[in-house]
């Protein structure tokens, strides 16, 4: 038998039908729904008089629009009327169609990409889709997972399948081990800096190598989460014991009777030794140090010890133009030191970095310190109600509040600012989210993407600083 990559195996296992024209029908095991990209899909089903093909393949939770402040009053008290309608519409649609939903005030509610794995809804060897591009997150478990548009959400609801075309195989191997204070977020930002935001277009990227193997499931999720920022709809990490252990005892995990068979099947979810990739990129872990984005695209990223690029030194005119435009939007000067960038707000959260390990890393840095007086607001938004409960059990909430950060209810929050958490025009934000596009975190807002530890360090100093310096002191 010809050797296969992990992606090849997942694809083959889900192939329902291969058409002569190269398109295929692939089976979808899991769909996660949220309030922003599902209403038009439910509406489409209704208009066509269709039902869900398989109700038990779906799970819903509102996340993008929910307020992260006090919300005991329920959906009816969401201040923004348009958000309220969207959250209410999700509740109504799930009730009508019989879909299991973790509603706004359920402790299991949270960001779709945090909730899915946490519940064991995402499983190794499954196909997972969601109307959200960061669905690539779930590939960390050896699942074939990608974001889809609303028409496709409706297609999966009605047929349990997706019309797809096979992607190319790309391997990004990170050799060696990461240094102290260097996190999964730095790894993925560094990778995007190397291959660019279109580097993975048309590909499924498998992240491999010793550094990836040594990273926890949380960290692997952070890396796969941002595969889409490298242009790849799919990010993957091969299954190992770390993966399998993660699923023990989760609500939707295989039952005890099924466990051994499942674990055995999962062990085969790795690329064969001699499998061929269309592209291979090799990166040395020792070259990676804490990263900071300075511009308006995730590929505009540098080491924290570096300076902001100078367009005059760029030979490619389109790139030079892009740098100029970004510097203007960001209000930065060419050759300015990254550590001289002053910040107005700090956001710790989002599906990239809002899991318990992220919160622990941030709490470690702020413990016994105070948020700098020049920082207007520093938010910590846990990824789910269960993450929040765990953090409170560990006392992390107290550490944050004592240091002057705000401790919030779970949701997407300032990652995309669809709820009231947003940046003012011209404000600089150290953010653990995944997109620094113009206006992403608020009209005119200036986002710098960093790891949770780096964001915490920025909160207590008021500017960027190499978090490793705070750790040794």
């Amino acid at each position: 038998m010809a050797s296969k990559t992990l992606y090849d195996k997942l694809w083959d296992q889900h192939l329902v039908r291969q058409n002569e024209d190269g398109s295929a029908l692939i089976y979808i095991d899991r769909q996660i729904l949220h309030e922003v990209t599902s209403p038009q899909a439910f509406e489409g089903l209704r208009l066509a008089g269709r039902k869900l093909w398989r109700i038990d393949a779906n799970l819903a939770t509102p996340d993008h629009n929910v307020p992260t402040t006090e919300r005991a009053g329920g959906v009816g008290l969401i201040v923004d009327p348009v958000s309220r309608i969207q959250v209410q519409t999700l509740d109504d649609n799930c009730d009508d169609f019989g879909v299991v939903e973790f509603k706004m005030n359920d402790t299991r509610q949270g960001i779709v990409h945090v909730v899915g794995p946490e519940q064991g809804m995402t499983l190794p060897g499954s196909t997972v889709v969601c109307g959200d591009s960061h669905t690539s997150t779930h590939g960390a478990f050896g699942a074939l997972a990608h974001g889809i548009g609303t028409s496709e959400v409706e297609h999966v609801m009605a047929t349990q399948c997706l019309i797809a075309k096979k992607m190319k195989n790309m391997l990004v191997r990170v050799d060696g081990l990461l240094g102290v204070g260097v996190t999964a977020k730095d790894v993925v930002l560094h990778i995007i800096g190397v291959i660019g935001t279109a580097g993975g277009n048309g590909c499924a990227i498998e992240f491999g190598g010793e550094a990836i193997r040594s990273i926890s499931m949380e960290g692997r999720m952070t890396i796969c989460n941002m595969a889409i920022e490298a242009g790849a709809r799919v990010g993957l990490v091969a299954v190992d014991q770390t993966t399998i252990d993660y699923f023990k005892g989760r609500p939707f995990s295989p039952t005890e009777a099924q466990w051994d068979a499942a674990a055995t099947a999962w062990k085969g979810l790795v690329s064969d030794d001699d499998a061929e990739f269309d592209t291979v990129v090799v990166i040395k872990a020792e070259d990676i140090i804490p990263q900071v984005t300075w511009g308006t695209s995730p590929e505009m990223v540098v080491d924290v010890t570096a300076t902001v690029p100078n367009p005059e030194k760029e030979s490619d005119p389109t790139k030079a133009d892009g740098i100029r435009r970004a510097l203007q939007y960001m209000g930065l000067n060419a050759d300015q030191k990254i550590t001289d960038i002053q910040l107005d707000r700090v956001f710790i959260g989002s599906c990239t970095n809002s899991r318990i390990e992220d919160l622990r890393a941030a709490a470690d840095v702020v413990k016994g310190r105070q948020v700098a007086s020049t920082i207007k607001q520093a938010l910590v938004v846990p990824g789910s109600g269960l993450v929040k409960a765990q953090a409170e059990k560990e006392g992390l909430d107290k550490i944050f509040v004592e240091a002057g950060l705000e401790w919030r209810e779970p949701g997407c929050s300032m990652c995309l600012a669809m709820n009231p958490d947003k940046l003012g025009s011209g404000e600089h934000c150290a953010s653990t989210s995944n997109r620094n596009f113009e206006g992403r975190q608020g009209f005119g807002g200036r986002t710098h993407l960093v790891s949770p530890a780096m964001a915490a360090a920025a909160a207590v100093t008021g500017h960027f600083v190499d978090v490793r310096e705070l750790m040794s002191s």
Binding site: R17, S23, D56, T89, T159, C161, T318, M418
Partner: protein
Amino acid sequence: MKNFTKVTGIAAPLDRANVDTDMIIPKQFLKSIKRSGFGPNLFDELRYLDEGQPDQDCAGRPLNTEFVLNQDRYQGAAVLLARKNFGCGSSREHAPWALDDFGIRCVIAPSFADIFYNNCFKNGLLPIILNDEQVDQLFCEVEAVEGYQLTIDLEKQVVVTPSGAEMEFEVDSFRKHCLLNGLDDIGLTLQNSADIKDYETRRRQEAPWLFDAIK
């Protein structure tokens, strides 16, 4: 779905790379639960000088007169010329809905982000990939000649310039077929229901834990 056979219309040049879907339709407009009405907010932050709000009448808002789609010569544009990696970022299908609602039927660029590319076809919008030289050439011509129109012939898979020059493009045959005929994917897939059921029967044996767990 709306079909697409042949379109002739004004081309408008949007000369920047990595245009993301947040730029195409900013998030505050995603709160609608409908598929239509996004046209007035297409490229909202580039088109207007103030910050747009949902449900606002855009007629009286201050326009950024420098923005290409606000210039007289590009009014009524049906074709958008763009640079590499167009449509990157969020998977929001509101992006093609907004382009369509505005009247754009076709986007030409050297490359597209995958999800956006896919979403276009579901909405009767045709994304065309041409190589860098061809796209450069079109940018030059469009900027030089007022009223410059392009014809897109999907059947023949060519972009025709006013001089009659033809540029061929690739399109997947299944997508082409659906677009030409305005076919609804769901209906087509449901014709294969038996295959889907067979697959499920097999899969239940191999991986029973993937069934009946979410209740």
